[in-house]
């Protein structure tokens, strides 16, 4: 940055007078001001505004503009409240459980598919586009599809009633456990393809010579896969799982359409919880305090992780 914005090194006599150098530097500073102001406005202003609001009882229902929020100043009441809010922590717990269940299933299914494709299954080109299709469907639409599938008189029950006649009456989305299972199934259906795509690309990058060398040394399919291919795509696996964990943690649209977070709060994710607090209850100052808390928590987590990575690199 400095190289491009500051003037080139000057001859000695000019540096000696110093006057010209100073005027050039002040010109550079002046030229930079608009960009700096914009940056402050984009980054700092919303942050400060959030912190400000989160320290009040303010809600748009008061009829006062946000800058008058100081009138209902409450210091840290929102923060103490959120620490004890079962609704919030319940949604966090459910979201974590959802991530912990859905992502591993997606990983193992994706890895199995990738392994099958890598060894070459019949009809690969057709299967390939078929497998990738769910990923291309808008999550809300996918949610709607599964909403229909899991209805009491939906196609799933019709199919199951052929196998177990008694199952016909089950309403999937009305039962807390079953609704959770249904949501996991929908997410697995939609996002296994992404897992597959990333892992398959990883497998394709394993040098063919090494696989051949392993074969010639007598390794069978399983040994080649677990001893050569898999260890070589560790980073790719980490990226795939990381991506899915982040995405899954933010899940909103599919749940919103399929269950609306219900029955009760059985499938209410953190995003859905925040949505309801913001647009149904209009508790904006409370939501602001949650936002700040999440920001601080994530910053700490990232700093810790970065420090570990740096330590590992140093070794």
């Amino acid at each position: 940055m400095t190289d491009t914005t500051l003037p080139a090194p000057m001859p000695v006599e000019e540096q000696a007078t110093g006057k010209l150098a100073q005027s050039r530097r002040s010109l550079a500073v002046r030229l930079l001001i608009p960009a700096q102001v914009l940056l402050v406005f984009i980054v700092a202003f919303p942050l400060i505004m959030q912190i400000f609001i989160s320290l009040t009882w303010w809600t748009p229902l008061d009829g006062d503009p946000w800058y008058l929020a100081w009138m209902s100043w409450n210091w840290f009441d929102n923060y103490t409240y959120l620490m004890q809010d079962d609704g919030l922590w319940g949604s966090v717990g459910r979201t974590l459980l959802f991530v912990a269940v859905a992502v591993p299933i997606e990983f193992f299914l994706g890895l199995t598919l990738a392994a099958l494709f890598y060894e070459g299954v019949l009809g690969r080109p057709v299967l390939y586009s078929l497998i990738l299709m769910p990923m291309m469907i808008v999550p809300a639409v996918a949610g709607y599809i599964f909403f229909l599938i899991f209805q009491q008189t939906g196609p799933l029950n019709s199919a199951l009633s052929v196998l177990w006649p008694g199952m016909l009456d089950v309403n999937w989305l009305n039962d807390t456990t079953r609704a959770f299972v249904a949501v996991v199934i929908a997410d697995v259906w939609q996002w296994t393809p992404l897992m597959f795509l990333i892992l398959f690309a990883g497998l394709m990058s394993v040098p063919e010579d090494q696989m051949r060398a392993a074969t010639i040394l007598g390794a069978n399919w399983r040994q080649r896969f677990f001893r050569i291919a898999l260890p070589r795509i560790k980073t790719v696996i980490a990226i795939a799982i990381g991506l899915r964990v982040i995405e899954c943690f933010k899940i909103f649209d599919m749940l919103f359409v399929m269950t609306g977070g219900g029955p009760g709060v059985a499938t209410e994710s953190l995003s859905l919880f925040l949505y309801k607090r913001t647009f149904q209850d209009l508790e904006w100052s409370y939501v602001a305090s949650i936002g700040i808390t999440v920001l601080v928590a994530l910053s700490v987590l990232t700093a810790v992780l970065m420090a570990r990575v740096k330590k590992k690199d140093a070794r």
């Binding site: 051949r212 392993a214 010639i216 040394l217 390794a219 069978n220 050569i228 070589r232």
Partner: protein, 370 residues
């Protein structure tokens, strides 16, 4: 240990013929080089022997047993890839142990044999190092050791020295030869470098355009090339191949260079008989640059030629001559004093020269002794 036999082996990729009707009988514990220019089918031949490529036609036998349809992991060959294909995510020890581990050997046995092989390959001091940290020569030793540890009956090496710089290649060449002696295994070695092939192999299979040109000892490949391709491919500088008109004058046979009577070479008895037997009016005359002598006086059967260019190559001087109509190259000790533009009288050692059929490229021969 095993012999390798290829009987009418061919490989086609679609319409492209990579290897055509290959017949090759490699003896037990023999060191054979498959030599040829890029794209001649030498690597494909090797891959077929290893089982990496299927065979389109013909048979491959190991020790007389047909292995044409045996999958590569059951053929029991060792294969050293051009880029070594080291498992870079594993340590040296794990690389060496790989072949034994996948065979389910006892851990104690694995440890013992890995230790022995590391000792033999002089890798003991790096045994627990990550394999990515190895130098090129260590990588090569590791690649060979990793294959040798499962005691394959046949060892295949795909241009293993081509990644090395020339000084180092020299050393690895002798190491490789010693290794083959101590392992006492059949080794097949693919290369495009004739110096490597000449220096290492018991016998050389020269290939060009998907076809085996000659399979013989390095000495015979050099001194008795089967055809003009082998003659031109082997040797640096390569054999001079000059079009000549065969004429009989006064009871003697002459080869007129480029059809000029003034540049006639009187043929000796052997070449004269060959020329007569062929009955052809035009032939290709082949003589090696090393087999020329020069004098400043015209001598018996010498050619008058002009020096065009003198190259100094190591201890040798390569001299390009012109007779006006045709040119050829001579290779002399660097002590010889010749300058471009000078006239010289050149005589050819006919006992070491050959005549080739210009149509088929085959060397003329009368009996087995030729």
């Amino acid at each position: 240990m095993a012999s390798v036999t290829l009987e009418g082996t061919s490989k086609k990729f679609g319409d492209f013929i990579a290897v055509r009707n290959m017949n090759l009988a490699i003896k037990d514990a023999e060191f054979v080089a498959i030599l040829g220019p890029s794209g001649c089918g030498k690597s494909t031949t090797m891959n077929m022997i290893a089982g990496i490529e299927d065979v389109s036609a013909g048979t491959i036998r190991f020790d007389g047993t047909d292995v044409t349809n045996v999958p590569m992991k059951k053929r029991g060959v060792g294969f050293v890839f051009q880029n070594y294909a080291i498992f870079t995510h594993l340590s040296v020890r794990k690389n060496l142990a790989f072949g034994l581990e996948v065979r389910g050997e006892e851990q104690a046995e694995i440890d013992r044999r890995v230790g022995e092989m590391a000792e033999f390959m002089e890798l003991s001091h790096r045994i627990d190092a990550p394999s990515v940290s190895l130098s090129v020569n260590e990588l090569q030793k590791l690649a060979i050791g990793r294959s040798a540890i499962v005691e394959p009956s046949i060892f295949l090496l795909d241009e293993p020295l081509s990644n090395l710089d020339s000084a180092f290649r020299e050393r690895m060449r002798s190491d490789l030869r010693q290794l083959q002696r101590s392992l006492n295994q059949t080794m097949i070695y693919v290369t495009h470098d004739q110096i490597e092939a000449m220096g290492l192999a018991d016998r050389i299979a020269v290939m060009d355009h998907a076809t085996l040109q000659q399979f013989d000892t390095p000495e015979n490949i050099y001194s008795r090339p089967e055809n003009t391709f082998v003659a031109g491919f082997i040797g640096a500088p390569s054999m001079n191949l000059v079009r000549v008109r065969i004429a009989e004058r006064g009871g003697a046979m002459f080869a007129d260079l480029a059809g000029r009577e003034a540049d006639a070479v009187a043929l000796d008895e052997r070449l004269a008989r060959q020329a007569r037997a062929s009955g052809a009016a035009a032939l290709t005359f082949g003589f090696r640059p090393e087999h020329l002598r020069i004098s400043d006086q015209p001598g018996n059967g010498s050619l008058a030629a002009q020096v065009v260019l003198v190259e100094l190559v190591g201890r040798r001087k390569h001299v390009h001559f012109s007779t006006g109509q045709t040119g050829f190259v001579g290779s002399f000790d660097r002590g010889v004093s010749l300058r471009p533009g000078e006239a010289a009288h050149v005589s050819i050692d006919l006992r070491k020269s050959h005549l080739f059929d210009p149509e088929t490229g085959l060397r003329l021969r009368l009996g087995e002794e030729d």
